[in-house]
């Protein structure tokens, strides 16, 4: 059986094992001189000077690293520029949006990351043809010995100069400790890349599932941290909350007497309805635009109690005392300023509407009330 396997058809090549690394150097020099092309040296540690003697060309891996590194730099440049200056510009420390010095660390890290990881991947998958592990030397006596305490030279049978007996005697001349013929089965060993093998892809999928579920488990269950909420939960009181800090127990405080908060107007006629009625004058004209605004606001804020036409027919179904009609003799004779005072301060059970309406809107509402009054109690001249 063994003899059958060792037919020259399946012969991969011949390896010589040496115990003395100096002998290897001599063999290497001889093989270069004779012009062999498909051969290699195996050792369990780097033999200094051998690559040069073998006349090996420089590995192109350096260029791969350079190109990947530059790709990393440009990616970093694009990433920082796009995110920080175009898509979501943030002003940080008064610096311009495109602040190159701040981006340099990112560029640097991405350059190093892509160059190192990328080169390793290229080396592994393209040069070493990972995950193909079916090299004919794999698991042979030859490779087992060179990975322990021997140094090996191996000549492949596909070399043009290869002749079994000649190669063997050459190795013998240089004092090889052992010469091994290595055969392989063409049906079992392939030299093709196996990256797209179903087996390998499913292996990657399994790895991906395991790592992501472990990461999920750790981040969300085992090492779970509640989201930071210290911006939300502060030592402050919400509206209407009581407080033990103040003597009166109220959390909400009244503004100190005689002050007006920022952005709030000052109303000089507090508790002085008559004075307000005398001194305040409606600054708006009864234009179409102002009446529109007044109707809008009246219908929104006043009509629920006062009714659509101000007749005191509220839609509150008795949940709140019905207000009197706005068409009474009294209100018709009031000045605009006097009505304004009611909006500002409220009147008895009617609350103030100062915070809901702006100054202009209040006057516009009054214009609208006036037009309602005019409609229900037209004067003689209106008919004419």
């Amino acid at each position: 059986m063994d003899n059958q396997m060792n037919t020259s058809e399946n012969l991969y090549g011949v390896g010589a094992l040496f115990k003395d690394p100096n002998k290897i150097v001599k063999v290497v020099e001889k093989l270069v001189e004779l012009g062999y092309k498909h051969w290699d040296v195996h050792s369990s540690y780097p033999l200094h000077g051998i690559p040069k003697r073998m006349r090996l060309k420089w590995s192109p891996l350096g260029y791969v690293a350079l190109i990947l590194g530059l790709t990393g730099t440009l990616t970093g440049l694009f990433l920082t520029w796009w995110t920080m200056s175009v898509d979501y510009p943030l002003t940080i420390g008064g610096k311009p949006w495109f602040s190159f010095p701040a981006f340099v660390p990112v560029l640097f890290e991405l350059t190093v990351l892509l160059a190192s990881v990328g080169t390793a991947i290229v080396m592994l998958f393209i040069i070493f043809k990972f995950p193909n592990n079916q090299h004919p030397l794999h698991d042979t006596e030859y490779i087992n010995k060179v990975s322990v305490d021997h140094f090996g030279v191996f000549i492949e049978a596909k070399d043009e100069l290869f002749e079994l007996e000649k190669v063997k005697s050459l190795f013998n001349d240089f004092g090889a400790d052992e010469i091994i013929e290595i055969a392989y089965d063409r049906n079992e060993v392939t030299f093709k890349p196996k990256v797209f093998d179903v087996k390998f892809i499913s292996f990657l999928v399994v790895i991906a599932i395991i790592t992501s579920s472990v990461a999920y488990l750790f981040n969300n269950k085992i090492l779970y941290l509640p989201p930071f909420d210290f911006m939300l939960k502060q030592f402050r009181l919400g509206p209407q909350e009581s407080s033990t800090f103040f003597a009166d127990g109220f959390g909400m405080r009244k503004p100190p007497a005689g002050t007006v908060a920022r952005n709030q107007e000052f109303y000089p006629f507090k508790n002085k309805p008559d004075e307000a009625g005398m001194k305040l004058v409606n600054p708006l004209l009864a234009t179409q635009e102002n009446l529109e605004l007044g109707r809008n606001k009246f219908n929104t804020f006043c009509s629920p109690c006062h009714g659509w036409r101000g007749e005191g027919d509220s839609r509150l179904n008795g949940q709140f005392p019905n207000p009197p009609s706005l068409h009474s003799e009294k209100v018709r004779n009031w000045t605009d300023g006097r009505i304004y005072h009611v909006i500002m301060e409220g009147q008895n059970v009617m609350p103030s509407y100062a915070s809901q309406l702006t100054e202009k809107e209040r006057w516009a509402v009054i214009l609208y009330i006036r037009s309602l009054q005019r409609a229900l109690n037209a004067k003689q001249e209106d008919i004419q």
Partner: protein, 396 residues
């Protein structure tokens, strides 16, 4: 004692007389120029001399650092060239002579040396316990004394080995190196703070000592590489040294070019980011007028040019390109120190005239003469070093 297999075939060849004459010529011409410079404008001359002073210190003490790491790491490739570093380390010996004219014009260099100015300046008052003339000179004295001591130890032990071939001397120098390292770190940091950083006494940068170290070692490597390759090419060393040794030198220069850029950028970026007026003014001064172009130039001179020059692998093995790169980094360190020192003298723009040229001429002449004198009576290869043979057989 002597192990036969360690003995190397080395014939000492005297350095050519021509070299000495060239050095002497440059030295004399330069010296006349320096004297004239002092007569015309002593303040400007003092600033230039300070650049020269710190440049020579860089090369000298940087060479000692190189010797130290060789012993500590047990490196073999550099052993055949170590004598070169031992000779260039002797440059520290001229520092006291150069320090005298600088110290005598201390008032035109260092603002903090004016006691009346310190009185009205609260910051300088607070710093005066450190920044005062007496303590300044004491520190210089201690620093130089320590450097001389280690120079003496390194070289005398190494030379003794040439005759005795005693392996234990290597061990002795390794111990000396271990002690030297922390001493080196502290003295070089204080040296940089005292002589360069205190030119702007309000300014401080905690990384400044490392910044000076990065440039210094680069300059020392430049001299080492240039001299080693030149000596080897002209057959002053032993047979068997070549491109693989050169590669290691080139790789070191390349590595420290990157290290310098890393440190220089760190210093700049932190100051730029924090944007504190008491730190930024140092860089702002270097962005005024023609200094701006000079400052942008330093990025090219000290980083981009040597980086591109040494990036391809063959460049680190080709002696000619390597020699150019070595001289370039040496020049770049001069440029760097000029950039650190001169803005204090001339705020608005780069001062450049005959005065700025005579000082480098003087220095190069001085260093060639010193090298010749110190190389005259020693073997240019440490023939007694037990690692020498392995160093000769070094392969990548």
């Amino acid at each position: 004692m002597i192990q036969e297999n360690l003995v190397i075939n080395y014939q000492r060849k005297p350095l050519p007389e021509k070299l000495f004459k060239l050095g002497l010529l440059l030295l004399v011409v330069g010296f006349v120029g320096v004297v004239l410079a002092y007569i015309t404008n002593s303040a400007r001359a003092s600033f230039n001399l300070l650049v020269v002073f710190t440049w020579i210190a860089s090369i000298g003490v940087g060479s000692m650092f190189f010797i130290g790491i060789e012993y500590l790491t047990g490196a073999v490739w550099s052993v055949p060239f170590r004598r070169v570093a031992e000779i260039t380390a002797s440059f520290v010996l001229v520092l006291p002579i150069l320090a005298i004219p600088i110290l005598s014009s201390i008032h035109s260099l260092y603002h903090w040396s004016h006691t009346e100015a310190v009185q009205v300046d609260q910051i300088l008052k607070n710093k005066s316990a450190y920044l005062n003339q007496t303590f300044f000179i004491v520190r210089l004295f201690i620093t130089l004394l320590l450097w001389f001591l280690f120079y003496y130890l390194f070289t005398s032990i190494s030379r003794k080995q040439d005759k005795s071939f005693d392996q234990s001397l290597t061990k002795k120098n390794t111990i000396v190196s271990a002690v030297f390292m922390p001493v080196f770190a502290v003295t070089l940091t204080f040296f940089a703070i005292d002589w360069l950083m205190s030119l702007e006494p309000h300014w401080y940068s905690t990384i400044f000592g490392v910044y000076y170290f990065a440039g210094s070692f680069l300059a020392a490597l430049g001299v080492f590489t240039f001299v080693s390759i030149s000596l080897n090419e002209n057959g002053f060393l032993v047979d068997g040294l070549g491109s693989e040794h050169y590669y290691s030198m080139g790789a070191l220069i390349f590595a420290f070019t990157n290290f310098w850029a890393y440190i220089a950028f760190s210093q700049f970026m932190l100051i730029w980011y924090a944007n504190l007026p008491e730190e930024t003014f140092w860089f702002i001064n270097r962005g005024v007028g023609s200094w701006l172009y000079f400052s942008i130039g330093i990025i090219f001179v000290k980083f981009i040019v040597p980086y591109i020059l040494l990036l391809p692998q063959p460049a680190k093995m080709d002696p000619l390109r390597l020699k150019i790169a070595a001289l370039w980094v040496l020049f770049a360190h001069y440029y760097d120190l000029f950039w650190v020192v001169m803005p204090t003298y001339s705020k608005g723009g780069v001062p450049f005239g005959w005065m700025e040229l005579v000082f480098p001429v003087f220095t190069v002449g001085l260093l060639i003469v010193l090298f010749y004198i110190f190389a005259k009576n020693v073997n240019l290869v440490p023939i007694g070093d037990p690692k020498l043979k392995r160093g000769l057989e070094f392969h990548l």
